[in-house]
Symmetry: none
Subunit: 225 residues, 4 copies
């Protein structure tokens, strides 16, 4: 979110203080976790970080950018990499569980706040997309491609829509708050959406999950893009 923080930009002058930068990000995250995003002030961040307000505004345009950077740098969990050893379906399910676990934790409120802020601040939205949403989608996209190549998944699925089908409901519960983000939900959701990923009836490479999912793949219509 910061203006790419090109530390080596000037080649001259006092270099940016890495200490101050970390102190700011840490203070921001701690305060958000403690008081909630809306209650956090740039002035409070500065005070807690032992830093001047001007130093914050020199590198970030506003509070949300600081928090976004802090979250991404300090607490954003790593993207799960696909292990060749498991089935694609199992891996996708695992990822859904993992996402739900993160969103149900303390960090969930933070992501929710950033998504919310993103509705008003395009810059925050962009950061969140490029550093949180997109990497995860890219990883999932690869897995889906892998599954398709190996015949584990139908070849005609719409990759983008599929990813929304997998993760969208989880974010929906996070933001809507109409129902809990628990493991039972993820199980039910995964069971539901996995069906749509089944390789067509008669495929010879069905993994365990495929059989688990009722064994009897439906032969319905499906679309992709």
């Amino acid at each position: 979110v910061a203006q790419s923080a090109d530390t080596s930009a000037g080649l001259q002058g006092r270099p940016r203080s890495e200490k101050a930068r970390r102190a700011i990000l840490e203070a921001a995250i701690e305060l958000v976790k403690c008081d909630g995003f809306a209650a956090v002030t740039v002035e409070a961040i500065a005070a807690r970080a032992g830093v001047s307000k001007a130093t914050i505004y020199r590198w970030w345009p506003n509070k949300a950018a600081v928090v976004a950077d802090g979250f991404l740098e300090l607490t954003a969990p790593e993207v799960l990499f696909f292990m060749e050893t498991g089935s694609v379906r199992e891996h996708l399910k695992l990822q859904m569980h993992e996402l739900a676990r993160v969103l149900a934790s303390e960090n969930g409120k933070l992501i929710a706040a950033l998504l919310a802020e993103g509705q008003a601040d395009p810059e925050v939205a962009k950061t969140l997309r490029s550093h949180w949403i997109s990497p995860r989608r890219e990883a999932t996209r690869e897995i889906l491609r892998h599954g398709i190549e190996h015949g584990e998944l139908r070849a005609d699925i719409d990759l983008e829509a599929t990813m929304d089908a997998l993760y969208g409901p989880i974010y929906y519960r996070l933001l809507g708050g109409h129902a809990p983000l628990d493991e039972h939900f993820i199980e039910a959701l995964a069971d539901h959406v996995m069906v749509g990923l089944n390789a067509p009836y008669g495929s010879n490479k069905i993994t365990p999950i495929a059989t688990t999912n009722r064994m009897k793949p439906v032969a319905d219509e499906d679309g992709n893009r």
Copy 2:
């Protein structure tokens, strides 16, 4: 959202001005649509409505409540009533299209803003849930039940998770902004998630969906709000 606005409370004194109330709600909605939720101030609403700030604060606790009320009263689209003529699946798909259409319109920004505000303001979240999300879920729930009863849908689905699977991805695209909310997406999504609703192969009441959809029209209606 307003404190139930018990107009007849006092039995005495000047009654609440309905004109002012409408002017406020309309001004709020217009401003949000024009400038975005975050840029709207109570003072601006008051000015545009030709109303005193105190009058707003007398009836609503804050800006978000005004906007929420305004949205619900002035622009919240009606829940689709279930038509006897279509199949359950078709109806669900239709609802998904309708929701996407609304969220992709000008009102989508408004709902996104309210959902965002709801992350910080529980009252707004509650209002949105009880007046926007829940009625729609209730309607869908009924349809799903109907589909199950008539054998058009699997009997073992998790109703709540299913509704999240149907609508969650749509909200996800609205709020994430990572991909467009167009008809193509809804088609792909619907095709995907509908598979998970299939009655299991060999069910004795329902033929494979493709044919079923025409053979067994549901006879039910539903509405709310």
Copy 3:
């Protein structure tokens, strides 16, 4: 300095709080007298007055205006009115002593600060001229006219230049700080400049002072405007 503080302007709305106004002016003056003009902050004035910063900025454009108003309202000494009983010369001398006394007191620093601020802020300069300098000059102008009419003073003096000759040296010592503003100085100064006011030799209405001043009016050249 305030925008004429037209309290009765609106005829509508909450009337301006006279209490707050006085608290602000008093706080400003106290702080200036305590810490000096340069060290005073609008925030400090607000804090001491128990008032919001916005309230100060609503009525005054800046710190100097507040202090100027406060000084003029709370501590500016009254203009000395001319008593018919004394001689014009005595009265002028009295006024010079009085001015020196004020400028040598605590208020002198205040006036010096305001005059200084006036160099950068035309509004302050204007206020000071219209509320401090001009009234005193006007009073003196009347006295000089009186003296001329009664033959106590020469008729061909330049009134404006005369007033500068009377008071300018006093302000000069105040601001230059090169010599003390004591009574001895005023005596010497008055003796010096009074000579130039003498009615021409032979005037039949010389007051005691005129005789004191060496009795022998010089017959030199003089100009006026």
Copy 4:
């Protein structure tokens, strides 16, 4: 004003850059003349001089000191040397005209600003006194002494008060801004205060001033700074 700028102090290391020093002073003066003292920043001076802020702060304690130094070095007009050819009175009058001319010029604003700053910053006040006010007073003092010695002026005048009487009104108009600093004013003023310098009527060495001024030319010169 600078901390004696002992260029030769170190005996070792890179000597102070005279170029930078001049650039700073010139930039300061230009900026003050262009934007006014209050609007000038140390950063702006540094930028315009192509110099680092630290270099300025290494040699001057603050902005006012830089401007004061710049003024004294670059624009302070020379003290008028006393010409043997004129009378003391004429010379004094000439000096008054000259002072008024300078103060009415662009430099007048600068001197006014420095006098103003001197009210808050004793260091500036001291510099101004020692480099601007005092040398001129010293020169005038000599002239007055000369005039007394030669019987052109009264012997019982208070030298200090006299100088305030001569120049104070000029500074007063400069700072008060209540009337213009034009030649007419100086003429009137000089005529007025010169009367107080007259040797008493009947003095045995001097004829009435009007004639004296040509009869007894002073033989003296004076300079300073």
